[in-house]
Subunit: 108 residues, 2 copies
């Protein structure tokens, strides 16, 4: 099929899985890391930074935007893309939650 079944899963899991899936691509993960590190966050830098064509990068950016991981603001001719810290922390928190459960439990 290729279609992901969502009925029977909690909303939280579905949303988190969607976010992780978006993060689960070399280009998109690189974009996140680039945005986290670079002082400026102009999109055009990415076209030179990544080994992908401009339309492809644009698509990846819009996926990141769709799940709320980044937000873009028009700044004259360019667009200033930044990480959305709230969303990012939500993901981090989810990971920490699983880690806590894991550390409590004894390994088999």
């Amino acid at each position: 099929m290729g279609i992901t079944k969502t009925i029977g899963f909690s909303e939280v899991v579905i949303e988190m899985a969607d976010i992780l899936k978006v993060l689960g691509h070399p280009a998109r993960l690189s974009i996140m890391e680039y945005l986290a590190n670079s002082p400026s966050c102009i999109c055009n830098d990415l076209v030179e930074e990544l080994p992908l064509a401009q339309p492809t990068i644009s698509r990846h950016l819009s996926e990141l935007k769709r799940v709320g991981l980044i937000q873009g603001q028009i700044s004259g001719k360019n667009i200033c893309y930044c990480i959305n810290p709230k969303k990012w922390n939500k993901v981090l928190l989810h990971f920490k939650m699983i880690t806590t459960s894991l550390s409590i439990k004894k390994q088999c």
Copy 2:
């Protein structure tokens, strides 16, 4: 194309993206959470727990195993699947690293 370009990206990013992609599915994320919380970790529980058929769950388990997030040990008739804490911590660490870079940088 459907094929993910990897040339031009670092090995670390490629591996991490692969792991996140695997985590980015409701069934697989649920499996990780179930394994983190349940004291036992027998696979057959999952068939009752998740809204998916047994072969589908088996496939998801093998994906999680492929990237090293879980490890399975045969225990008589059953298989005991557990989270691989080392791999999990590696992922968590990567997230924390990005978070650190993010917090240092000023938002635009």
